[in-house]
Amino acid sequence: MSENQFPQETPENNPAPKPPEFKAPEFKAPASPHQYGGFGQQALPNSTPVLVLGILAILSCCCYGLPGLILGIIGLVLGNKDRKLFRENPGFYTESSYKNSKAGRTCSIIAVILSILMVIFMIALVAMVGWATLQNPEELKRVIEEMGKH
């Protein structure tokens, strides 16, 4: 058995097959969740109520700040729910409803802060003049005028 019967594969008679050209797959930016103009996207379930609650909250900042506090906290809770929903599945909901929900959430936070300030003011007033004086407008007026003199 000579070696010729099984010709060795030399570079001359059988050049090594070129390695297939490596083609990098074209890079595609991941589709933006907002790329598709609203088709199949829904509005967040609470975007409008959150906005309305936030705005109603500031209108009811009187009455000892309590209605504003309640409305603001409800708005904040609903807004947080919406935010969580959107974070979990950004492509599923419309961006405009997310913006509305965010605006409503901010408004609710402002209303809650205002209401808390009002409650603190009430507590401070009670602490300064006493509950009994607060019930009696004329006495209260006298006490406050006295405080203003000092």
């Binding site: 409008t48 906005l51 309305v52 936030g54 705005i55 500031i58 209108l59 009811s60 900042c61 009187c62 009455c63 000892y64 405009s96 913006k99 509305n100 965010k102 605006a103 901010t106 408004c107 402002i110 209303a111 802060i113 205002l114 300030l117 009002m118 607060l134 019930q135 407008p137 004329e138 209260l140 007026k141 406050i144 005028e145 203003g148």
Partner: protein
Amino acid sequence: MHFFLSFFLIIDWLKGHLLTCPFKSHTGLDCPGCGFQRSLLALMQGDVKSSLHLFPASLPIVILLIFVPAHLKFDFKQGARVITLLYLFIAIVIVLTYIYKIYNHNLY
């Protein structure tokens, strides 16, 4: 003509039927929202100056109350941001007005 007449009648009726602030009726002191209804009435009669004097935040509040339904209907591009900024402005004006009232003993 009829419309204007009924408008004035409504204003007259509203003047006699303003909601009483529980804080004011209880303590005799103004709350941060006191003056809003009077100011709104002045605004309805076209008296912007006295409206601003009674409750400076009422004009921006009216603008906000008109803008929000419009935004919800037509979905303006920057609508949400405008609402947020306007709201912040209103809150600041209310707080400053109340502090001013306290400092000047205008609470009655």
